[in-house]
Amino acid sequence: MRPSEIVDRARQAFRDGSPDRAVELAGHVIARYPRHASARLVRALAAEAAGELDQALEDLRFVTSAEPLNAPAAAATARIFKRRDDDARAQDEARRVVELVPDVADSESLESALDILGVDADALPMTPGVFARIHLRTGWPGTAERYARRALDDEPDRIDIRLTLAEALWQLNRLSLCEEQCTIIFDRANDCVRAAVMLAHVLAERGRMAEGQDLLGRAGEIDPEYLEARQMLAQLEIHRLVLPDAPQIDVPTSLRPPSETAEPAPTPVAPAADEPLQDDQPGKPEDSPTAPDGAAFTQIDWARELIRREDWREAERVLREMVEDDELSQADVDALLEEAAEAPALAAVAWGLLGDFRMRSHRPQAAAEAYLRAASAQDAADG
Protein backbone atom coordinates (compact mmCIF):
# COMPACT_ATOMS: atom_id res chain seq x y z
CA MET A 1 0.00 0.00 0.00
CA ARG A 2 1.27 3.49 -0.75
CA PRO A 3 2.25 5.60 2.29
CA SER A 4 -0.36 8.24 1.41
CA GLU A 5 -3.10 5.60 1.47
CA ILE A 6 -2.06 4.56 4.98
CA VAL A 7 -2.03 8.21 6.06
CA ASP A 8 -5.52 8.65 4.55
CA ARG A 9 -6.67 5.77 6.72
CA ALA A 10 -4.99 7.28 9.76
CA ARG A 11 -6.70 10.60 9.08
CA GLN A 12 -10.05 8.86 8.70
CA ALA A 13 -9.52 6.91 11.93
CA PHE A 14 -8.81 10.19 13.73
CA ARG A 15 -11.98 11.74 12.28
CA ASP A 16 -13.94 8.66 13.31
CA GLY A 17 -12.85 9.10 16.92
CA SER A 18 -10.14 6.42 17.00
CA PRO A 19 -7.00 8.44 17.80
CA ASP A 20 -5.06 5.37 18.98
CA ARG A 21 -5.59 3.64 15.66
CA ALA A 22 -4.70 6.88 13.84
CA VAL A 23 -1.41 7.08 15.78
CA GLU A 24 -0.64 3.43 15.05
CA LEU A 25 -1.21 3.86 11.34
CA ALA A 26 0.73 7.14 11.17
CA GLY A 27 3.48 5.57 13.29
CA HIS A 28 3.75 2.72 10.81
CA VAL A 29 4.56 5.22 8.04
CA ILE A 30 6.86 7.29 10.28
CA ALA A 31 8.83 4.16 11.19
CA ARG A 32 9.71 3.79 7.51
CA TYR A 33 9.82 7.51 6.64
CA PRO A 34 10.65 9.47 9.82
CA ARG A 35 10.24 12.78 7.95
CA HIS A 36 6.87 11.99 6.34
CA ALA A 37 5.04 15.30 6.78
CA SER A 38 1.45 14.07 6.37
CA ALA A 39 1.95 11.23 8.85
CA ARG A 40 3.60 13.60 11.33
CA LEU A 41 0.60 15.93 11.01
CA VAL A 42 -1.85 13.14 11.89
CA ARG A 43 0.31 12.22 14.88
CA ALA A 44 0.40 15.88 15.92
CA LEU A 45 -3.39 16.22 15.74
CA ALA A 46 -3.81 13.08 17.84
CA ALA A 47 -1.30 14.41 20.39
CA GLU A 48 -3.13 17.73 20.48
CA ALA A 49 -6.40 15.92 21.15
CA ALA A 50 -4.72 13.94 23.95
CA GLY A 51 -3.38 17.13 25.52
CA GLU A 52 0.26 16.22 24.76
CA LEU A 53 1.00 19.69 23.53
CA ASP A 54 4.81 19.58 23.52
CA GLN A 55 4.80 16.43 21.42
CA ALA A 56 2.21 17.98 19.09
CA LEU A 57 4.20 21.21 18.71
CA GLU A 58 7.37 19.33 17.88
CA ASP A 59 5.66 17.55 14.99
CA LEU A 60 3.89 20.72 13.89
CA ARG A 61 7.14 22.68 13.75
CA PHE A 62 8.49 20.09 11.35
CA VAL A 63 5.31 20.03 9.24
CA THR A 64 5.13 23.80 8.88
CA SER A 65 8.81 23.90 7.95
CA ALA A 66 8.26 21.24 5.28
CA GLU A 67 4.93 22.63 4.11
CA PRO A 68 4.60 26.34 4.98
CA LEU A 69 1.22 26.42 3.18
CA ASN A 70 -0.26 23.61 5.30
CA ALA A 71 -3.35 25.23 6.82
CA PRO A 72 -4.36 22.38 9.19
CA ALA A 73 -0.84 22.44 10.70
CA ALA A 74 -0.97 26.21 11.16
CA ALA A 75 -4.48 25.97 12.66
CA ALA A 76 -3.39 23.29 15.13
CA THR A 77 -0.38 25.42 16.11
CA ALA A 78 -2.70 28.38 16.70
CA ARG A 79 -5.03 26.27 18.87
CA ILE A 80 -2.10 25.05 20.99
CA PHE A 81 -0.80 28.58 21.57
CA LYS A 82 -4.33 29.60 22.53
CA ARG A 83 -4.58 26.75 25.01
CA ARG A 84 -1.32 27.98 26.54
CA ASP A 85 -2.75 31.51 26.78
CA ASP A 86 -0.13 32.78 24.35
CA ASP A 87 -2.70 34.94 22.57
CA ALA A 88 -0.28 36.98 20.48
CA ARG A 89 1.30 33.94 18.83
CA ALA A 90 -2.07 32.22 18.54
CA GLN A 91 -3.43 35.20 16.62
CA ASP A 92 -0.35 35.38 14.38
CA GLU A 93 -0.81 31.73 13.44
CA ALA A 94 -4.57 32.15 13.00
CA ARG A 95 -3.99 35.13 10.66
CA ARG A 96 -1.65 32.95 8.65
CA VAL A 97 -4.38 30.33 8.32
CA VAL A 98 -6.95 32.76 6.98
CA GLU A 99 -4.36 34.18 4.59
CA LEU A 100 -3.92 30.74 3.11
CA VAL A 101 -7.32 31.27 1.53
CA PRO A 102 -7.99 29.98 -1.09
CA ASP A 103 -5.72 27.05 -0.20
CA VAL A 104 -7.77 26.31 2.90
CA ALA A 105 -9.95 23.54 1.58
CA ASP A 106 -10.98 22.29 5.00
CA SER A 107 -13.50 24.53 6.71
CA GLU A 108 -12.40 23.13 10.09
CA SER A 109 -9.02 24.91 9.97
CA LEU A 110 -10.62 28.14 8.84
CA GLU A 111 -13.29 27.98 11.52
CA SER A 112 -10.83 27.39 14.33
CA ALA A 113 -8.68 30.28 13.06
CA LEU A 114 -11.68 32.62 12.88
CA ASP A 115 -12.66 31.53 16.37
CA ILE A 116 -9.22 32.48 17.71
CA LEU A 117 -9.32 35.81 15.90
CA GLY A 118 -12.88 36.40 17.13
CA VAL A 119 -14.14 37.56 13.74
CA ASP A 120 -16.56 36.36 11.06
CA ALA A 121 -15.33 35.36 7.64
CA ASP A 122 -17.01 38.48 6.18
CA ALA A 123 -14.85 40.72 8.34
CA LEU A 124 -11.55 39.34 7.04
CA PRO A 125 -9.38 41.98 5.39
CA MET A 126 -8.08 41.29 1.88
CA THR A 127 -4.36 41.69 2.39
CA PRO A 128 -1.68 41.80 -0.33
CA GLY A 129 -0.69 38.26 0.76
CA VAL A 130 -4.21 36.98 0.03
CA PHE A 131 -4.28 38.75 -3.32
CA ALA A 132 -0.90 37.23 -4.18
CA ARG A 133 -2.17 33.73 -3.49
CA ILE A 134 -5.40 34.25 -5.42
CA HIS A 135 -3.57 35.61 -8.45
CA LEU A 136 -1.03 32.79 -8.37
CA ARG A 137 -3.76 30.16 -8.27
CA THR A 138 -5.74 31.77 -11.05
CA GLY A 139 -2.81 31.89 -13.45
CA TRP A 140 -1.59 35.47 -13.02
CA PRO A 141 1.94 35.01 -11.67
CA GLY A 142 3.04 38.52 -12.69
CA THR A 143 0.34 40.13 -10.56
CA ALA A 144 0.96 37.58 -7.81
CA GLU A 145 4.61 38.62 -7.75
CA ARG A 146 3.73 42.32 -7.28
CA TYR A 147 1.31 41.59 -4.41
CA ALA A 148 3.72 39.13 -2.76
CA ARG A 149 6.53 41.71 -2.83
CA ARG A 150 4.21 44.29 -1.30
CA ALA A 151 3.20 41.80 1.43
CA LEU A 152 6.84 40.99 2.16
CA ASP A 153 7.64 44.71 2.56
CA ASP A 154 5.34 44.62 5.60
CA GLU A 155 6.16 41.13 6.84
CA PRO A 156 9.56 40.00 5.51
CA ASP A 157 9.65 36.97 7.82
CA ARG A 158 6.52 35.37 6.38
CA ILE A 159 7.78 32.17 4.74
CA ASP A 160 4.39 31.32 3.24
CA ILE A 161 4.33 34.63 1.34
CA ARG A 162 7.94 34.24 0.25
CA LEU A 163 7.05 30.81 -1.06
CA THR A 164 4.20 32.36 -3.04
CA LEU A 165 6.68 34.87 -4.47
CA ALA A 166 9.14 32.10 -5.35
CA GLU A 167 6.38 30.11 -7.10
CA ALA A 168 5.27 33.16 -9.05
CA LEU A 169 8.86 33.75 -10.23
CA TRP A 170 9.17 30.06 -11.06
CA GLN A 171 6.04 30.16 -13.18
CA LEU A 172 7.40 33.26 -14.91
CA ASN A 173 10.59 31.27 -15.65
CA ARG A 174 12.68 33.90 -13.83
CA LEU A 175 14.80 31.16 -12.36
CA SER A 176 17.65 33.21 -10.87
CA LEU A 177 15.22 35.33 -8.85
CA CYS A 178 13.29 32.21 -7.86
CA GLU A 179 16.54 30.64 -6.67
CA GLU A 180 17.28 33.71 -4.50
CA GLN A 181 13.90 33.40 -2.81
CA CYS A 182 14.24 29.64 -2.32
CA THR A 183 17.62 30.18 -0.66
CA ILE A 184 16.03 32.62 1.80
CA ILE A 185 13.21 30.13 2.44
CA PHE A 186 15.71 27.36 3.20
CA ASP A 187 17.40 29.60 5.78
CA ARG A 188 14.16 29.65 7.75
CA ALA A 189 12.46 26.42 6.68
CA ASN A 190 15.14 24.07 5.49
CA ASP A 191 12.71 21.19 4.94
CA CYS A 192 10.43 23.11 2.56
CA VAL A 193 9.35 20.63 -0.11
CA ARG A 194 8.06 23.11 -2.67
CA ALA A 195 11.22 25.23 -2.47
CA ALA A 196 13.30 22.05 -2.87
CA VAL A 197 11.37 21.06 -6.00
CA MET A 198 11.81 24.52 -7.56
CA LEU A 199 15.50 24.65 -6.69
CA ALA A 200 16.02 21.11 -8.01
CA HIS A 201 14.45 22.20 -11.29
CA VAL A 202 16.64 25.32 -11.45
CA LEU A 203 19.79 23.25 -10.86
CA ALA A 204 18.77 20.70 -13.49
CA GLU A 205 18.12 23.46 -16.01
CA ARG A 206 21.68 24.71 -15.41
CA GLY A 207 23.05 21.27 -16.18
CA ARG A 208 23.68 20.42 -12.52
CA MET A 209 21.50 17.33 -12.77
CA ALA A 210 23.13 15.34 -9.96
CA GLU A 211 22.67 18.20 -7.48
CA GLY A 212 19.08 18.68 -8.66
CA GLN A 213 18.25 15.01 -8.26
CA ASP A 214 19.94 14.99 -4.87
CA LEU A 215 17.82 17.90 -3.68
CA LEU A 216 14.70 16.26 -5.05
CA GLY A 217 15.68 13.15 -3.09
CA ARG A 218 15.66 15.24 0.09
CA ALA A 219 12.11 16.27 -0.68
CA GLY A 220 11.36 12.58 -1.21
CA GLU A 221 12.20 11.85 2.43
CA ILE A 222 9.26 14.05 3.39
CA ASP A 223 6.95 13.17 0.50
CA PRO A 224 8.18 9.74 -0.71
CA GLU A 225 5.54 9.54 -3.44
CA TYR A 226 6.62 12.96 -4.75
CA LEU A 227 2.99 14.05 -4.89
CA GLU A 228 3.80 17.76 -4.57
CA ALA A 229 6.74 17.45 -6.96
CA ARG A 230 4.55 15.73 -9.56
CA GLN A 231 1.86 18.36 -9.25
CA MET A 232 4.36 21.21 -9.56
CA LEU A 233 6.45 19.74 -12.37
CA ALA A 234 3.31 18.87 -14.32
CA GLN A 235 2.86 22.62 -14.86
CA LEU A 236 6.06 22.69 -16.91
CA GLU A 237 6.23 21.77 -20.55
CA ILE A 238 9.56 20.06 -20.05
CA HIS A 239 11.72 19.19 -17.09
CA ARG A 240 14.79 16.99 -16.79
CA LEU A 241 14.22 15.63 -13.30
CA VAL A 242 13.48 11.95 -12.80
CA LEU A 243 10.75 11.15 -10.29
CA PRO A 244 11.20 7.74 -8.65
CA ASP A 245 8.41 5.18 -8.52
CA ALA A 246 5.91 5.52 -5.69
CA PRO A 247 6.99 3.17 -2.87
CA GLN A 248 4.76 0.57 -1.25
CA ILE A 249 4.63 -0.36 2.43
CA ASP A 250 3.32 -3.64 3.81
CA VAL A 251 0.57 -3.11 6.34
CA PRO A 252 0.54 -5.65 9.17
CA THR A 253 -2.72 -7.53 9.65
CA SER A 254 -3.24 -5.86 13.02
CA LEU A 255 -3.52 -2.47 11.29
CA ARG A 256 -5.88 -3.57 8.55
CA PRO A 257 -9.61 -3.02 8.89
CA PRO A 258 -11.69 -6.19 9.48
CA SER A 259 -13.09 -5.98 5.95
CA GLU A 260 -9.58 -6.57 4.53
CA THR A 261 -8.65 -9.43 6.78
CA ALA A 262 -11.86 -11.30 5.91
CA GLU A 263 -12.53 -13.17 2.64
CA PRO A 264 -11.43 -10.85 -0.18
CA ALA A 265 -14.19 -9.41 -2.30
CA PRO A 266 -14.15 -10.50 -5.94
CA THR A 267 -12.20 -8.12 -8.12
CA PRO A 268 -14.24 -6.49 -10.88
CA VAL A 269 -13.54 -8.20 -14.16
CA ALA A 270 -12.05 -5.81 -16.68
CA PRO A 271 -13.63 -6.10 -20.12
CA ALA A 272 -11.57 -6.98 -23.15
CA ALA A 273 -9.69 -4.03 -24.64
CA ASP A 274 -11.86 -3.94 -27.74
CA GLU A 275 -15.12 -4.35 -25.84
CA PRO A 276 -16.97 -1.10 -25.07
CA LEU A 277 -17.80 -0.51 -21.43
CA GLN A 278 -21.47 -0.54 -20.54
CA ASP A 279 -22.83 1.61 -17.74
CA ASP A 280 -23.77 -1.42 -15.67
CA GLN A 281 -20.58 -3.31 -16.34
CA PRO A 282 -17.94 -3.93 -13.68
CA GLY A 283 -14.83 -1.96 -14.44
CA LYS A 284 -16.63 1.26 -15.20
CA PRO A 285 -15.32 3.97 -12.84
CA GLU A 286 -18.79 4.62 -11.47
CA ASP A 287 -18.97 1.02 -10.30
CA SER A 288 -15.59 1.13 -8.68
CA PRO A 289 -15.01 1.48 -4.97
CA THR A 290 -14.73 4.93 -3.50
CA ALA A 291 -11.40 6.71 -3.35
CA PRO A 292 -9.46 6.61 -0.08
CA ASP A 293 -10.82 9.97 1.00
CA GLY A 294 -14.39 8.80 0.45
CA ALA A 295 -14.90 10.83 -2.74
CA ALA A 296 -16.26 9.20 -5.89
CA PHE A 297 -13.68 7.56 -8.12
CA THR A 298 -12.71 9.72 -11.05
CA GLN A 299 -11.41 8.40 -14.34
CA ILE A 300 -7.93 9.41 -13.18
CA ASP A 301 -8.33 7.46 -9.91
CA TRP A 302 -9.50 4.49 -11.95
CA ALA A 303 -6.47 4.63 -14.22
CA ARG A 304 -4.19 4.80 -11.17
CA GLU A 305 -5.98 1.84 -9.64
CA LEU A 306 -5.50 -0.21 -12.83
CA ILE A 307 -1.81 0.65 -12.87
CA ARG A 308 -1.54 -0.34 -9.20
CA ARG A 309 -3.19 -3.65 -10.05
CA GLU A 310 -0.77 -4.04 -12.96
CA ASP A 311 -3.70 -4.50 -15.32
CA TRP A 312 -1.66 -3.05 -18.17
CA ARG A 313 -4.07 -3.80 -20.99
CA GLU A 314 -7.03 -2.10 -19.35
CA ALA A 315 -4.84 0.73 -18.04
CA GLU A 316 -3.66 1.42 -21.60
CA ARG A 317 -7.25 1.48 -22.86
CA VAL A 318 -8.30 3.96 -20.15
CA LEU A 319 -5.24 6.15 -20.75
CA ARG A 320 -6.02 6.25 -24.48
CA GLU A 321 -9.55 7.41 -23.71
CA MET A 322 -8.26 10.10 -21.38
CA VAL A 323 -5.89 11.52 -23.98
CA GLU A 324 -8.88 12.18 -26.23
CA ASP A 325 -11.08 13.59 -23.46
CA ASP A 326 -11.05 17.38 -23.79
CA GLU A 327 -12.87 17.80 -20.47
CA LEU A 328 -9.97 16.63 -18.31
CA SER A 329 -7.44 19.02 -16.83
CA GLN A 330 -4.22 19.21 -18.82
CA ALA A 331 -2.08 19.15 -15.67
CA ASP A 332 -3.89 16.07 -14.33
CA VAL A 333 -3.49 14.09 -17.55
CA ASP A 334 0.17 15.15 -17.89
CA ALA A 335 0.88 14.04 -14.32
CA LEU A 336 -1.00 10.75 -14.69
CA LEU A 337 0.80 9.81 -17.91
CA GLU A 338 4.16 10.63 -16.35
CA GLU A 339 3.24 8.39 -13.42
CA ALA A 340 2.15 5.65 -15.80
CA ALA A 341 5.44 5.94 -17.67
CA GLU A 342 7.26 4.97 -14.50
CA ALA A 343 5.92 1.43 -14.86
CA PRO A 344 8.30 -0.32 -17.26
CA ALA A 345 5.46 -2.32 -18.80
CA LEU A 346 3.62 0.88 -19.72
CA ALA A 347 6.54 3.25 -20.30
CA ALA A 348 6.65 3.23 -24.10
CA VAL A 349 2.87 3.48 -24.45
CA ALA A 350 2.52 6.17 -21.78
CA TRP A 351 5.28 8.37 -23.22
CA GLY A 352 3.78 7.96 -26.70
CA LEU A 353 0.34 8.92 -25.38
CA LEU A 354 1.86 11.89 -23.56
CA GLY A 355 3.35 12.96 -26.90
CA ASP A 356 -0.08 12.66 -28.54
CA PHE A 357 -1.71 14.54 -25.68
CA ARG A 358 0.81 17.36 -25.90
CA MET A 359 0.32 17.59 -29.68
CA ARG A 360 -3.43 17.80 -29.09
CA SER A 361 -2.84 20.62 -26.62
CA HIS A 362 -0.56 22.53 -29.02
CA ARG A 363 2.74 21.87 -27.21
CA PRO A 364 4.94 20.39 -29.95
CA GLN A 365 8.25 20.96 -28.18
CA ALA A 366 7.07 19.10 -25.08
CA ALA A 367 5.53 16.45 -27.34
CA ALA A 368 8.89 15.87 -29.02
CA GLU A 369 10.46 15.26 -25.62
CA ALA A 370 7.76 12.69 -24.77
CA TYR A 371 8.05 10.90 -28.12
CA LEU A 372 11.83 10.68 -27.69
CA ARG A 373 11.30 9.09 -24.30
CA ALA A 374 8.80 6.68 -25.89
CA ALA A 375 11.43 5.67 -28.41
CA SER A 376 14.02 5.13 -25.64
CA ALA A 377 11.54 3.10 -23.58
CA GLN A 378 10.71 0.99 -26.61
CA ASP A 379 14.41 0.41 -27.28
CA ALA A 380 14.88 -0.63 -23.66
CA ALA A 381 11.89 -2.98 -23.87
CA ASP A 382 13.24 -4.51 -27.08
CA GLY A 383 16.57 -5.10 -25.30
Binding site: V323, D356, R358, M359, H362, Y371, A374, A375
Partner: protein, 111 residues
Protein backbone atom coordinates in the same frame (compact mmCIF):
# COMPACT_ATOMS: atom_id res chain seq x y z
CA UNK B 1 -10.21 10.11 -37.85
CA UNK B 2 -11.71 8.77 -41.08
CA UNK B 3 -10.59 11.95 -42.85
CA UNK B 4 -7.10 11.57 -41.46
CA UNK B 5 -6.86 7.94 -42.52
CA UNK B 6 -8.13 8.55 -46.06
CA UNK B 7 -5.84 11.54 -46.47
CA UNK B 8 -2.95 9.44 -45.22
CA UNK B 9 -3.77 6.68 -47.71
CA UNK B 10 -3.97 9.17 -50.58
CA UNK B 11 -0.60 10.69 -49.70
CA UNK B 12 1.06 7.34 -49.29
CA UNK B 13 -0.28 6.32 -52.71
CA UNK B 14 1.54 9.17 -54.49
CA UNK B 15 4.36 8.07 -56.80
CA UNK B 16 7.83 8.07 -55.22
CA UNK B 17 6.40 8.59 -51.72
CA UNK B 18 7.71 6.12 -49.13
CA UNK B 19 5.76 7.33 -46.16
CA UNK B 20 3.47 10.06 -44.87
CA UNK B 21 2.27 11.67 -41.65
CA UNK B 22 -0.83 13.83 -41.32
CA UNK B 23 -2.49 15.69 -38.52
CA UNK B 24 -4.90 18.46 -37.86
CA UNK B 25 -4.27 21.23 -35.30
CA UNK B 26 -5.45 19.95 -31.92
CA UNK B 27 -5.24 16.29 -32.90
CA UNK B 28 -2.55 13.65 -32.60
CA UNK B 29 -0.64 12.81 -35.78
CA UNK B 30 -1.12 9.54 -37.66
CA UNK B 31 1.44 8.12 -39.99
CA UNK B 32 2.34 5.38 -42.38
CA UNK B 33 6.10 5.10 -42.55
CA UNK B 34 8.53 2.37 -43.36
CA UNK B 35 8.52 -0.52 -40.87
CA UNK B 36 12.24 0.05 -40.33
CA UNK B 37 11.76 3.37 -38.54
CA UNK B 38 10.65 3.79 -34.93
CA UNK B 39 6.99 3.32 -34.07
CA UNK B 40 6.93 6.85 -32.68
CA UNK B 41 8.43 8.34 -35.85
CA UNK B 42 5.14 9.96 -36.96
CA UNK B 43 4.85 11.70 -33.58
CA UNK B 44 8.49 12.73 -33.59
CA UNK B 45 8.36 14.14 -37.11
CA UNK B 46 5.11 16.02 -36.43
CA UNK B 47 6.29 17.45 -33.11
CA UNK B 48 9.65 18.35 -34.62
CA UNK B 49 8.00 20.26 -37.44
CA UNK B 50 5.62 21.85 -34.93
CA UNK B 51 8.57 22.99 -32.82
CA UNK B 52 10.29 24.46 -35.88
CA UNK B 53 7.09 26.33 -36.71
CA UNK B 54 6.96 27.76 -33.20
CA UNK B 55 10.59 28.84 -33.43
CA UNK B 56 10.07 30.60 -36.76
CA UNK B 57 6.94 32.29 -35.49
CA UNK B 58 8.58 33.30 -32.20
CA UNK B 59 11.46 35.07 -33.95
CA UNK B 60 8.90 37.03 -35.94
CA UNK B 61 9.32 35.44 -39.34
CA UNK B 62 5.67 34.50 -39.69
CA UNK B 63 4.00 31.14 -40.08
CA UNK B 64 5.79 28.34 -41.88
CA UNK B 65 3.90 26.98 -44.87
CA UNK B 66 6.47 24.48 -46.13
CA UNK B 67 9.63 22.85 -44.88
CA UNK B 68 11.85 20.68 -47.04
CA UNK B 69 14.67 18.49 -45.83
CA UNK B 70 17.21 16.27 -47.52
CA UNK B 71 19.16 13.37 -46.06
CA UNK B 72 21.61 10.99 -47.67
CA UNK B 73 18.82 8.60 -48.51
CA UNK B 74 15.52 10.51 -48.62
CA UNK B 75 13.92 13.86 -48.97
CA UNK B 76 11.02 15.08 -46.91
CA UNK B 77 8.45 17.81 -47.29
CA UNK B 78 6.11 19.26 -44.67
CA UNK B 79 3.17 21.32 -45.89
CA UNK B 80 0.62 23.26 -43.86
CA UNK B 81 -2.74 24.39 -45.20
CA UNK B 82 -4.90 25.99 -42.55
CA UNK B 83 -5.44 23.48 -39.76
CA UNK B 84 -4.17 20.57 -41.82
CA UNK B 85 -0.56 19.50 -41.98
CA UNK B 86 1.21 16.71 -43.80
CA UNK B 87 4.73 15.39 -44.08
CA UNK B 88 5.81 13.11 -46.88
CA UNK B 89 9.03 11.16 -47.08
CA UNK B 90 10.06 10.49 -50.68
CA UNK B 91 12.93 8.97 -52.64
CA UNK B 92 15.99 11.08 -53.41
CA UNK B 93 15.14 11.35 -57.10
CA UNK B 94 11.49 12.30 -56.53
CA UNK B 95 10.23 15.47 -58.23
CA UNK B 96 9.57 17.52 -55.10
CA UNK B 97 7.71 20.30 -56.97
CA UNK B 98 5.24 17.77 -58.34
CA UNK B 99 4.81 16.24 -54.91
CA UNK B 100 4.31 19.66 -53.32
CA UNK B 101 1.44 20.34 -55.71
CA UNK B 102 -0.06 16.92 -55.10
CA UNK B 103 0.11 17.26 -51.31
CA UNK B 104 -1.33 20.77 -51.39
CA UNK B 105 -4.16 19.55 -53.59
CA UNK B 106 -4.95 16.77 -51.11
CA UNK B 107 -4.93 19.18 -48.19
CA UNK B 108 -7.15 21.64 -50.06
CA UNK B 109 -9.76 18.90 -50.42
CA UNK B 110 -9.84 18.54 -46.64
CA UNK B 111 -10.06 22.26 -45.88
Amino acid sequence: MADLQSLLANLKALDEVDGAVVWRAGEAPVGNLSASVSAVAPGLLASGIGTMEQVVQTVGLGQVEELWFLTGAQQGLAVRLGDWQAIIVATLDADIDRLRNAVTEQLERQS
